[in-house]
Every structure is written in C-alpha cells, then in structure tokens.
Amino acid sequence: MLRARAISKRFGAIRALEAVDFEAAPGEIHALLGENGAGKTTLMRILAGGLRPDAGAVTLDAVALRPGSPQAALRASVAAVHQSPMLFERLTWEENLALGGGTRTATAAHERAARLGFELPAPRTLVEDCALAERVRLELMLALSFEPRVLILDEPTGVLAPSEVTAFLALLRALRGQDRIVILVTHKLAEALAVADRVTVLRRGRLMASVAASQTSEAELARLMIGELPPAAAAPSSAPAAGGPPLELVDLTLDDRGRRILDRVALAVAPGEVVGIAGVEGNGQAELVEILAGAHKFTSGQVRAAGLAVIPQDRDLDGLVLTLAVWENLMLSRPLMKRFSRAGWLRRTAAIRFAGELIERFSIRAPDAHLPAGALSGGNRQRLAVARALADAPRAIVAHNPCRGLDLAATAEVCRLLAGFAAGGGAVLLISSDLDELLALSTRMYVMSAGRLRALGASEREPARLGVLMAGKWT
C-alpha cells in the first residue's frame, strides 16, 4: 500500500498542495485527475521523491520513503515516467536504456519492447533526434526495466498515437495483474474511467474526492475537477467600431514536420470583447501565441492585427530579461523603444522617468527602475509584463496564461487590468488553461483541441460539457 499523508507544498506564495491524502493499493490502477495547476504533477513528484514536501510523509507498506530523493524512491521500487521525458539527450537510446535495470544490451531492449508491443527507434539514434512519443516509450521502458512495484505515469497517453494507446492501456492492465500499483496522472476523463479502478480528483491543491471508478461518471468527475462556475462576464455594450476588428485570424494554419499544429483557426475580437480560448496545453496554443507575436512563421491563412501587444505565458523565459534593468525591460517592446529613442539613441532620462510612472500606475513593487527585473517578485514581474503591454495604448492584447503561478491577490489584479482594458474599448484574446479565469473574464469562448477551434455556445458553459469538449470530443 502506497500512502501519502497530509502532504502540503508551497512554491513561494502559491499553495500547490494543501494537506492532501492519497492511497493506492497493489493490483490497482489509480487515476489522479485534475486541471492544469491542480497539483497533480507536484503530488506525483513528491511520491517519486523528486520533490520534498513542506509537510506530510509518504510510506510504502508502512515504511517511510526518504523525502526528496529519487534514488531512495527507486530503491524502494517506485519509478516514474515524466510528462517531459528525462533522458540524456546526447546519448543514443540504447545507451539510455543501458542505464536502467534489465536492458543493458540492445537484444534485451528489443525483447522487452516486443513484450510491450512497442516499436523502437532506428539503431544508434540519439535521443534528441527521437520523436516525443518515442521518448515517452523509452522512458516508460526505462522505468519498467527496474521492475518497480509502484509505477507513476504523468500524462503518458498525450503523445502516443491512437493505435498505441489501446496497447498501452492493455499494458497497464497487465501490470495491475502482476500486483503492482499503477498511478496514472491525467486530465482525460474518459481514459481515467476506462482503465482506472479508483480515481482521485485534485482541484487547486486540495483533495476533492477519491472514489471507485465504477461509482462515478464523467459528468461528476468534470464537476469535481472544474468546480462551480462563476457567472458569465457581461457582453460588451458598445457596438463594434467601423474599420474591422482590431484582431482577426483568417484560416490560420501551421504545419510542422508533417503534423498539423493549427488547423484553419478563424476568429475575430471586437473592441470591448474578451475572447477566451480554453483547452489543454499542447494543442497549438503556444504556437498560436508565437505567431501572433511575430516570432513564428505560419503555413497559410492571415493574421490581421492593428496595435497588437502580446503577453507571453512564461514571463521569466519569454516575457522579460531578468538581468536587465526594469526600465530596459520596458523598452523591449517595439512601440516603446520607438517612442523613447531618437535616431537609434535611447532617451534614457525620459525612459527611466516613464518607467517610474508605470511603476506607480501599475503599483509594481520596485524601489527603482534601475533594479534588474529578476529582483522583483513573481507577481510584480507579471505586472511589469502587463504594464509594458498596456503602456503604449494598444488596440488589442493577446494574453497567454497571464495569471499562471500568481497568488490570489496578484491574479485578481491582473484580471482587473485586462478587464479594465476591455472595458475601455480594447480587444483581448485570452488563451488559458485556467477555466475559472476564462469564465470570469470572457465575453465569448472557444475550445481548442488538436489545433482546431470550436465556438462554445452559451448553454455549454457548464463543467461537464467543458471537460468533455476539452478532451477533444466534439460531436
């Protein structure tokens, strides 16, 4: 019996897990369900020893596991397969597998692969040249080579081909038959119900329920995952202005190495509107935002935009340069750089004064504009990114997960800024994996799945239906 007791974990101001209990018995497939940011991956990493909890303990058959040590977990026979595979990129797949338990030779690897019904990459292929699905299969083989008693899988089916999913689920059942504990971290309701014996649902770091799969339904699980929905935001009262919408996408299509990432995405955002795009990450959202920011080419279609500012999802990696000063970061936007330079020379004094004004206007807690952006707290860094987007009076804003990783107060603040911008006649395209945020802000919504958009009817703004649509079942 794998048992986690009262696990709590904070990341800065964010409570990732709060006093969560979790139990899984041998011979059981246990699905861990939740939206993005619910704490699934955090709990999984604590179980596998990759993270040390702030409070609580994990025991396997009443023996405590040493917290924060993947080696100790592996010795205790707990193995994990991660969402983003943790393999050695610059080694061949054979070398990677040889680092595991029972696959020291290529022959052994082929035998195991045959038993699992897996196809292996070409001999001596570097892992960095393997497709994502191949990497997940390799990591799964690596984990199984240790013959673990507990196998934890983080969103494993996301990258498998449909034909492989069936075989994979059969494999999970076979492992269950060998009296192992299989923990499946997923957001796919149907999959969880199809294969799991028990389902545990997390929501915003709290345990919502742990029920037998036979005694629940997709609708109930969706309600547990998503919670009660806030009322819809009011539709804009102002009539659409003449001269076309500030942001319009016409049959935007992106193909990458034979895969269709975006499939004829079409939408228009009118002044005063907040158009939300819901969906599980990895369905084309990141590429869509990059295209809108002008950082990515697309295959066909059109982007019509005027005065567009983009707030990318990862403020530290995509939005800011942490070792540059706050005022310098503000200049990293084309309209502002233009406004505060003359013939290529920065107008430093004016730019620094302007930065001071923005710091005040957006109540960014930064003692002065010369500080490196990295010295600010997460919430203030996001305020800085939002302030830069709003600073030069854009007509439209694209925001990708703007509240990710922020505490409640900062989230409310960012939502208020975006809503205020729309109320003032701006157009907002909000792309998010946080349904609460989407439902609170959006005047209209779409669901994105496998690169396609589907408009959400007013009657469909209810959790069970949304959960089903986000899983890609559009009928």
Binding site: L322, M331, H370
Partner: protein, 370 residues
Amino acid sequence: MSAAGATRRRASLAIVAALLKPIAALAAAFALVAIILLGLGASPILVLAALVEGAFGNWLACTETIVKATPLVFTGLAIAVAFEGALWNIGAEGQLIMGALVAGAIGPMLGGWAHPIAVTAILAGGFAGGAMWGALAGWLKSARNVNEVISTLMLNFVAQQILSWAVHGPLIEPARAYPKSAPIAAAAELQLYFPPSRLNLGMALAAVLAVASFALLYRTTIGLQLRALGRNPRASRFFGLRIGWLTVGAMALSGGLAGLGGGVQVAAITHRLYESLSPGWGFEAIAVALLARLNPLGVVPCAILFGALDNGSQAMQRAAGVSPVLVQVIQALVILILLAFDAGLFAARRRESGAASTLAGAGFEEARDA
C-alpha cells in the same frame, strides 16, 4: 528624496565594488605567485620590482607598455561586444590576422595617396578584413545554426594558414628572400610621434573606440537589443528582434574591431606582413575582456595591465632570472581568482534571498548604469 539618495549611494558602492574586485584579484594573484617564488628560492619583492621597473621604469618603458597594450584593447573590445550578445567569439585572433592581411595587402599600393587618405584606407581595410571574418561566423550561426565557438575557433587556423600562404606566395616581397610581404607605402604608415618610442595614434584610436563601444552597448537601441538577445534569446523572439541581423552585425563589428587592431599593428609597427604576426593577442583578449567584466571602458585599463605584464616580463627575466612565463601564470591566476570571487558572491546571494535569478552580474549592471 532620501530614497533617491540611497539609490545613488548604492550605485556608487556598486562601482567601488566593481573596481575593487579586479584589484583584489590582482593582489591575490601576486600573493600566490610570491609563495611559488619563495618556494623556488627567489625574492618576490625583487621580481615584482623588476616587473614594475620593466613596465613603467622610465618614459620609454611606459610608452612600450602602451604600444603592447594597443592590440589588446582592440581585440578586448571585440570580445566584449560579442560576449554581451552571448556570441562566444573565440576568433579574435583570426579576425585580427585577416585585418592585418588586408591592410598588408593594400598597404604597398597606397603610395600615390595623401597621408590621411592612405591611413584611412589601410585602417578601413583592416576593419573590413576582420569584419568579413567575423560576419562569416555570424552568418554560419544564424543561417546554418553552426555553433560560433567552433566556427570562430576553426577560422583562426584558416586565417593563420591564409597568412602563411600569402607571405610565402602572392604577397612575398619582390626580393623573394624571406616569407614577408613588401613594405606598405610610407603614406599609409601611422606616424611614430616620439622616436625612438613607438608611440602612435593606435592607443588614442582604441580609446575612442572603447567609448564608442560603450555608447553603442548602453546608450543605443541596437545595444539594448543585443544585450537582451545575449541574456534571453527565447524572449527576444517575442520582442520581435531581428535575431539573424543582430547576430551577423555584432559578429561583423566584433571581427572588425579585432581586424582594426591588426591593421593598426601593420600600419604603425611592423609595416609589413610576417607569418608570426600575432603572439596570441586574440586569445589574451578574452582574459582582458573578462577582467573588464565585458565593460568596454574597463577594457582599456585591463589591456594596459596585461600590456605592462608582457612588457615587464623581459626585464624581470634579466634582473631576477625568472622565466617570463611567470607573467602568464599571473594573468591566468587573476582571472581564476576573479571567477572564484563571483562564484562565492553568487552563493552568498542565493542563500540570502532564495532567488537564483539575482545573478552576480546585477551589481555590475547597476555600476554601468550610474
């Protein structure tokens, strides 16, 4: 008001810290070398005195220190500009050689021109030769994704081989006696102001370029874009920076500065091409630029320090019987100790604030801004 005062105080403290650290590193390096010397039975005081005497003992020694430092300023600036954009240009050596090669090739043909025009032409040729060599590596990186560390390193060897071939073949002097080129025209020579001292316009030009490089990096939009690209290439795509152009442009500028150093060396000192033109200035420049914390204004004093060590090493050997290689040991130790300081500082800050993002460089950023 008091907040602004505190900011200013903090900024000036940061400047002091930024200046103090290389000096402390230098002192620590000398202390370590002193221990080695004591072990060898030599007197550290005598050796240090000989070194200083050789570098600054009289007016002629001082000017020779300046002359020895000049190519290090040009190549040091080349490194600083490229490294600020996270373009790890290890090829200043090859770029300097290509600059010298172009200068040495066109130099003999400039006889009919007025002095200012001939000098401008030979220096422009030096810049162009290095810029082409740097831009080649930049283009390989942006168009073909070739790691610039490898390409610039390899292009050093290519440049050296081209120079050897040129002075043995097409550019060999008319007498064909030695592997060296024909002398450049007198009109293209940089004047030596106070013979027998070899003091010339080179250091003044280098100092002007140091100020210009500083202005480019910290006062222009291009400089800000380059520094943003160097610190966060991922975010730079979202800012809509033209990464390809920035990469090629910065590498061309970097190579051009190094090439100009080669051009100055030919126009002022050697007046012709030899196979062994550079004793490795392009590599020594990496140490100079790192010691200057990539600040172009810091490159000048750091290059003079390294030039003084080079210059003093001969006298040190004569007076104290210590191999001039010892100077290279000192130079290496200074950099190592400086890096150790940074690592220590980084660790201390991380412990304090728990924020890994507060990089050790932050203090220097502040010092530059003030």
